[in-house]
């Protein structure tokens, strides 16, 4: 085992070498070396992102060293970008770091395409106006917003983060994120209701009348289910049990066939009846996906994901090849069985899955050729993975910050939820626009409560939401926090954001859509698609 595999062992068990490779090609920009910003970078540098860059025009203050672990006593008065770069850089010798003690606006003035080099841009300690501007740039791949025609430009993930006292929030924006490896809990697809010929033949190969109790106790439950299901179909016009009573009847039939309480294989069969009586179909989310316009209108710039999804559609529509079903995953769970019969069953599913992959591959190849793309430009490995997880594919389309700021996606507000804090964050931005500071920052903090609550009222009115959705006590609490940075909250939000960036960068697992809110006073959180 090489040194890198040893160091990364505990994470490779989550996202594998392909995820690690993707992570190592990520280049992350942090705007402002705040406590939460540095916590995010810490959790990304440790698992080995490719590169990070810190942009921050400020110098290190006393409050910085009281809330940020990557700025120390010796850093007081020095460039914040440089010191954070140094102390964070120590964490992993395989990660490259850069810094600039400049304001992001002046950088963009000199180099309008500056953002295009990054895969993710994290913005902290910035005004709403700046956030909107940066988010709009990332949305179109980092090119100047006046020059929106970036052929082949990839999208940049934009992440906005803020902590205020015991409250913290994070927002993700990217036009579209597609995921194949969503890591569902269970990918087994056993086709008990519609067995393919090889599977039926396998089930029929067992002697249910055998005198040998060891042999009888080791008939794999899949064979038991198929056998009893077959008998059921013969007396029910070829239909599988559909009502609750019918399913219970099938269970009772199986139970009656049991010879001793030690026949755990029969127990396994009985406990799988409910799942196995669900007809094998295409999940509605996947049906919607194959009907997506991106699938219909492929071009040479289309992501592999959409070419593969189109191939999936064409495969499924060709009933002679697919029976109208998704490719088989080829995975089976462990079950009580003799080694030989288990290995045989495993290879029956695997072989069928391979045949399905081959059929899908043929469609992929013909699509590639019609698009003028090189044969094999989507690898066999990629097609295999796609087929294996085809029932769990996922596409997330985020709302842009522009849309959100115009009108958040909400009709009513539960005053007991975490959402009122979102309203208060937005109201604090309005307060900042009026006063050039955030509520509660000064000594006479309680004087700001009325003003901030008036901002809340104005916002709610403009969204057409009842005025009592945010209690004045909560407005008071935000003023109490006084825009203060508390390390625990920075660290918690930093953990959540870094985890989401890992999911987005590796294209594995499912990231949140789109705003995470954490209330540390009550220890509760929620995600809203605002």
């Amino acid at each position: 085992m090489d040194a890198k595999t040893q160091k990364y062992d505990r994470q490779l068990r989550l996202w594998g070498s392909s995820g690690q490779e993707a992570l190592e090609s990520a280049h992350i920009l942090l705007i402002n070396a705040s406590a939460v910003g540095c916590e995010i970078l810490k959790n990304l540098i440790l698992p080995g992102i490719g590169q990070f860059t810190i942009v921050d025009p400020g110098t290190v203050s006393q409050n910085d060293i009281g809330s940020n672990f990557f700025l120390d006593f010796d850093s007081l008065g020095k460039q914040r970008a440089e010191r954070a770069y140094e102390l964070l850089g120590e964490l992993n010798e395989d990660v490259k770091g850069n810094w600039a003690a400049k304001d992001i606006h002046s950088i963009l003035k000199e180099d309008p395409g500056y953002l295009a080099q990054f895969s993710t841009v994290i913005a902290t300690d910035i005004t709403r106006e700046t956030a909107e501007k940066l988010a709009a740039l990332c949305w179109v791949g980092g090119q100047d917003a006046n020059n929106r025609n970036p052929a082949g430009k990839k999208n940049i993930t934009f992440v906005w983060v803020k902590t205020v006292g015991l409250f913290g929030a994070a927002r993700i924006a990217v036009p579209e994120h597609t995921i194949v490896e969503t890591h569902p809990d269970n990918v087994a697809d056993l086709r008990i209701d519609t067995p393919f010929p090889e599977l039926s033949a396998f089930a029929q190969s067992f002697d249910f009348d055998t005198e040998d109790s060891l042999e009888f106790g080791h008939i794999p439950y899949v064979a038991i289910l198929l056998n009893y299901m077959d008998k059921w179909k013969q007396t029910h016009n070829g239909k599988i049990p559909s009502t609750y009573a019918e399913k219970n009847e099938l269970k009772a039939n199986i139970r009656a066939g049991m010879r001793s309480v030690d026949d755990e294989n029969f127990d396994e069969a009985i406990s799988s009846v409910l799942r196995s009586c669900q007809p094998t179909t295409i999940p509605s989310e996947i049906k919607a996906l194959v009907n997506d316009p991106k699938c219909e209108h492929l071009n040479a710039e289309s992501e592999n994901f959409w070419i593969l999804t189109r191939a999936l559609r064409d495969y499924v529509n060709d009933h002679t090849k697919s029976d109208g079903l998704l490719p088989l995953s080829g995975t089976i769970p462990d079950m009580k069985a003799q080694t030989d019969s288990y290995v045989t069953l495993q290879s029956i599913y695997k072989t069928k899955a391979k045949q399905d992959v081959q059929e899908v591959s043929k469609v992929v190849e013909s699509l590639l050729s019609s698009l003028g793309l090189a044969a094999g430009s989507i690898s066999q490995q990629e097609i295999e993975t796609f087929c294996k997880f085809s029932a769990f594919l996922k596409v997330i389309r985020y709302r842009s910050l522009e849309e959100e700021y115009h009108q958040p996606n909400t009709k009513q507000i539960d005053p007991d939820s975490v959402f009122p804090y979102y309203v208060l964050l937005r109201a604090s931005d309005s307060f900042y626009d009026d006063h050039g500071r955030y509520p509660g920052e000064g000594e006479n903090w309680e004087d700001d409560v009325d003003q901030l609550h008036a901002n809340v009222g104005t916002l709610l009115q403009s969204w057409g939401i009842a005025n009592d959705a945010v209690s004045k006590d909560l407005t008071h609490e935000i003023c109490r926090y006084g825009n203060g940075a508390i390390h625990n909250i920075a660290s918690l939000i930093g953990g959540v954001v870094s985890q989401e960036i890992i999911k987005l960068s590796t294209r594995q697992y499912i990231p949140m859509n789109n705003t995470f809110l954490f209330d540390g006073a009550r220890s509760v959180s929620a995600v809203f698609a605002v």
Partner: protein
């Protein structure tokens, strides 16, 4: 360079001090007092574990303004820790975690004192634990958690409020984790929630020996059965690459023989060391949540968690906060005995295996007694040998239905009183 004198608590801890200086309308019970700031600077707080969670917890406490922190850990640093345990560098591999972590935080955060204890938690007595105002646990061992939980519950004297030691416990696995607050004797304790743990992984011996199907079965065969056949009394060292390599090759050979695919070096290591995937991000979330509760408990600036927060990040970001209820027959924090049903014609050994696997009991090396008379004990050796014949006897020959059986385990600082109904 700025002189130490120019550092003021007021500026440095501005975020925390706003919370402590200002009243709250959502938590009107809170009264700001200067003593609270003094208290967090001087109270002693204990961190158990200096691993993935422990590193985070030490950092968080130091930056919350806690001034007197102790950390206890018996482990040394391994190269596979470096992807998340950010207080350690490659050059630190092999050094004690507690000592290295404490030195790092002392150097980085001006004015804090972190005192390391490089030993097992079981090496310390009640007098040691009595000194702390609060204890935070960042462990991956169930056994150590049960030990500290039972110790703290046992230490509590209802007439003496100083004996109540709040225990904050964090745990992670991959993208999932939890943080909880235990007020020993008041809220549900660690033992109350044993049944929330997933069943200990382990495969039936007959599967491993006779009908292997998964690569894991082949690895278990190599480590459980074949190791002692080939190596006699020599104990396996799962940290020695040579031993892992032997297990891997042995498991691979068996897998070939049975046409089983999927035995790899990494899987072998994972199975024999019971490796749990771990990343910095999840540790950060859970540790921060624990320390947020610590600050709230120590200062009363907001209500503390009552009493459990689950976290999951596989699919979106999800937390669930709820009050875990005390278990009426908890062997640690209640006075009533556990009720068990078991077949009277089954042997004591079968009863023992059942208790080893039962999620809310999970014993390692149990001993049994009825009415003060031992039925089976793991030690001393002579007694074990004398009582061993009882293992194959059916329960109905050893005691009557409804008898109270005392179950002990050398790994636990308490005994379990179980009323066993023989069926």
């Amino acid at each position: 360079m700025v002189d130490t004198q120019t550092i003021t608590d007021h500026e440095r801890w501005a975020g925390v001090y706003k919370l402590l200086d200002r009243t709250s309308r959502i938590h009107p019970e809170f009264e700001p007092q200067e003593e609270i700031k003094e208290f967090i600077k001087t109270c002693k707080i204990l961190v158990i574990g200096a691993g993935g969670l422990g590193c985070e917890i030490l950092k968080n406490l130091a930056l919350s303004g806690f001034g007197d922190i102790h950390v206890i850990d018996m482990d040394t640093i391994d190269v596979s820790n470096l992807n998340r345990q950010f207080l350690f560098r490659r050059a630190d591999v092999g050094k004690p975690k507690a000592v290295t972590a404490a030195a790092f935080v002392n150097k980085r955060v001006q004015g804090v004192t972190v005192t390391p204890h490089y030993c097992k938690i079981q090496d310390k007595d009640e007098d040691f634990y009595q000194e702390f105002a609060l204890i935070i646990c960042g462990l991956d061992s169930i056994e150590a958690r049960r030990w500290i939980n039972a110790t703290l519950v046992g230490m509590r004297d209802e007439d003496n409020p100083d004996t109540l030691k709040p225990l904050i416990d964090g745990g992670t696995e991959g993208f999932k984790g939890q943080a909880r607050v235990i007020l020993p004797g008041i809220t549900s304790c660690y033992e109350c929630s044993m049944d929330m743990l997933s069943k200990p992984t382990g495969f039936p011996l007959c599967t491993i020996a006779n009908t292997p199907r998964l690569p894991e079965h082949c690895i278990e065969w190599a480590s459980v059965l074949e190791w002692s056949n080939k190596h006699g009394d020599r104990k396996m060292d799962t940290d020695d690459p040579k031993d892992i390599q032997w297990l891997y090759e042995t498991a691979l050979a068996r897998a070939k023989q049975y046409n089983i695919q999927g035995v790899t070096y990494s899987l072998t290591q994972g199975v024999v060391k019971n490796i749990i995937p771990a990343i910095a991000a999840t540790n950060a979330i859970v540790a921060a949540s624990c320390c947020n509760e610590a600050l709230k408990i120590a200062t009363t600036c907001a209500k503390n968690l009552d009493n459990y927060m689950m976290y999951s990040g596989n699919d979106s970001v999800y937390t669930y906060t709820f009050e875990h209820q005390r278990k009426d027959d908890c062997p640690v924090c209640s006075n009533s005995s556990t009720k068990l049903d078991f077949r009277g014609d089954k042997t004591l050994e079968e009863f023992m295996d059942y208790l080893k696997e039962k999620p809310d009991i999970q014993l390692k090396r149990p001993g049994f007694a009825v009415g003060g008379k031992p039925l089976y004990l793991q030690a001393p050796k002579q007694l074990e040998e004398a009582l061993r014949p009882n293992l194959v006897k059916p329960l109905k020959e050893l005691f009557s239905s409804g008898d109270e059986v005392t179950i002990t385990d050398s790994t636990l600082p308490f005994s379990l009183q179980a009323v066993v109904t023989l069926t």
